[in-house]
């Protein structure tokens, strides 16, 4: 990049975080996007596992007994709105408005925390109603997928809390707009993963019952129970 250095005068207002890179993209930002791309593979595998075992649980509770679509629609909406407050936080950071940044971050944390609250309530209710992690194929794949998503959200909450505290404490240690931007990318990614989970596990798969007679899972079950004699 020596070429660019010698032929161009330095910008009049060099942003603090801009560095010369071969791609023209800040390394940290690039890293975050590479990570998010790889996280697609992670969640893709978990979602595929759920879909492979979907409708093969031979004991209840089945999704149609236990999935509450209206409540989860509300929590989905809450998470979606937290993406909006997050992007407003990023905009505030970019325009250098520290006070606004803190306000939007706190709002995002409240909305994200509300989403986690819904999930804690849901998991607890399922457990009390007899759907434990080991109950059936549905419960194992459901809790693994939504649990890992919840863990992502929780990590994001810690991240945003750190940024808010950094921004509130002193001007010297305050997060750069790139710091907020990268945290925002992570936060939005968690939101889009939930968009997929909500559609597949709740809107489409939330009414699944036991497998039909003649299904391979039922045949296998009958075979084994016939042998226990």
């Amino acid at each position: 990049m020596a070429h660019a250095d010698t032929t161009h005068a330095p910008p009049a207002h060099p942003p603090a975080h801009e560095e010369e890179t071969t791609t023209g993209i800040n390394h940290r930002k690039l890293l975050m996007w590479v990570f998010l791309g790889s996280d697609c593979l992670f969640f893709g595998s978990l979602i595929a596992t759920y879909m492979v075992y979907r409708g093969q649980s031979i004991v209840g509770p089945y999704p149609r007994d236990i999935i509450d679509v209206p409540i989860t629609t509300v929590s989905t909406f809450v998470l979606l709105m937290s993406s909006f407050t997050m992007v407003m936080g990023v905009a505030a950071a970019r325009s250098g408005n520290q006070k606004r940044l803190i306000q939007w971050l706190v709002l995002t944390i409240i909305l994200g925390g509300t989403f986690i609250g819904f999930q804690v309530y849901e998991f607890n209710l399922f457990r009390v109603e007899g759907l434990r992690y080991e109950t059936n194929l549905f419960s194992s794949t459901f809790f693994t997928l939504t649990g890992f998503h919840g863990a992502h959200v929780t990590l994001g909450l810690f991240w945003l809390a750190c940024l808010a505290i950094m921004a509130a404490r002193n001007p010297a240690g305050r997060p750069s707009d790139l710091d907020v931007d990268i945290a925002g990318l992570y936060w939005h990614f968690v939101d889009i993963v939930w968009i997929v989970i909500f559609t597949l596990l709740y809107l489409i798969g939330g009414f699944d019952g036991p497998p039909e007679a003649g299904h391979a899972a039922v045949q296998g079950w009958n075979w084994v129970t016939g042998l226990i004699s």
């Binding site: 990049m1 070429h3 660019a4 910008p11 207002h13 801009e18 071969t22 791609t23 993209i25 930002k29 690039l30 998010l36 791309g37 593979l41 969640f43 893709g44 595998s45 979602i47 595929a48 879909m51 492979v52 979907r54 031979i58 209840g60 509770p61 149609r64 679509v69 629609t73 979606l80 909006f84 992007v87 990023v90 905009a91 970019r94 325009s95 007899g130 925002g184 990318l185 939005h188 889009i192 968009i195 997929v196 559609t199 809107l203 489409i204 939330g206 009414f207 699944d208 036991p210 497998p211 007679a213 299904h215 391979a216 045949q219 009958n222 129970t225 016939g226 042998l227 226990i228 004699s229």
Partner: protein, 291 residues
């Protein structure tokens, strides 16, 4: 390292954007923000983002409304609209909230590469384990593992001391529709279907031609002998009590059977199985036919 023209253009564009960021920020109109070509580094403001948030909220509401009619719940026709709507939401968030529309195209390529790889992994798994189920060829039959050890495992489980806390029983409403899945022969009575299916009687009791369990007394001809087990009980009363209160009386060699059976075993193994009143009556009716 040589500088290619594409990179130069990107750099020039970035510097341009850095100079004009504030002006462009103010100037990006709504239609330009969502549909037009905007220079790199341009971002939206409250107006653009709230419009998008409202749009996404409406899509979520529409998705919910699609599955409100009970006839549509879980049916195949809703899958396509729901998938299309969530794909729209997905890419709106990526393009505008994650401002990928306004970024270096390389970031799109990186993310889409990960996304496509993830989709391929998901599709491969579903196809491999969920769709294609090959039938083993004849030559492999001698090598298919015998399942005797499953029987041993099952006996070990049955004889194991019970945990203090048993899992809550399944919802009885769900057991009824699952009953036809019990693998009973076509034309079997509801009681027989339950016997080999969800009531799991067949795991422990023998009825010639129906089940070969050994842990409990055989039930061939039970209707003929049930009336003699407890004085004052008819065959029907005895059978019903034996299902509902298995511990009340445990049949054994005193009843002319070949052995004594373990007391309390049936109530323990049935602890997780819930039978409705109709289920019990169907079982009684079926067993009363075994003369």
């Amino acid at each position: 390292m040589s500088t290619n023209p594409g990179q130069e253009a990107v750099l020039a564009q970035q510097e341009h954007a850095a100079h004009d960021e504030h002006a462009a920020h103010e100037d990006a109109g709504i239609s330009q923000f969502f549909f037009g070509r905007v220079p790199e580094g341009v971002h939206g403001g409250l107006k653009q983002y709230s419009l998008l948030a409202i749009f996404l909220g409406i899509i979520t509401l529409v998705e919910f409304l699609i599955i409100v009619p009970e006839g549509l719940q879980g049916s195949g026709v809703v899958i396509a609209p729901l998938v299309i709507l969530s794909v729209i939401k997905f890419f709106c968030v990526v393009a505008f909230f994650m401002h990928l529309k306004f970024e270096n195209p390389l970031l799109w390529q990186i993310f889409v590469a990960g996304l496509v790889l993830g989709l391929i992994v998901a599709l491969s798994l579903v196809l491999l384990f969920g769709v294609f189920r090959p039938t083993p060829r004849a030559f492999s039959e001698p090598r298919i593992e015998p399942f005797e050890h499953h029987v041993e495992d099952a006996h070990a489980v049955i004889e194991r001391p019970l945990p203090d806390e048993l899992p809550p029983p399944a919802n009885p409403a769900d057991l009824a529709p699952a009953a036809p899945a019990g693998g009973a022969a076509a034309g079997a009575s509801p009681g027989q279907t339950l016997f080999v299916g969800t009531a799991a009687c067949a795991s422990c009791h023998t009825i010639q031609g129906v089940a070969q369990g050994v842990l409990g007394p055989p039930l061939d001809g039970i209707a003929s002998v049930a009336g003699n087990r407890i004085s004052g009980y008819s065959a029907e009363e005895y059978i019903r009590e034996s299902i509902l209160e298995p511990d009340a009386y445990t049949a054994g060699s005193a009843d002319g059977l070949s052995q004594d059976y373990q007391e309390g075993l049936m109530s323990a193994t049935m602890a997780g199985i819930v039978l409705s009143d109709e289920d019990v009556e169907a079982l009684v009716e079926f067993l009363l036919q075994l003369r």
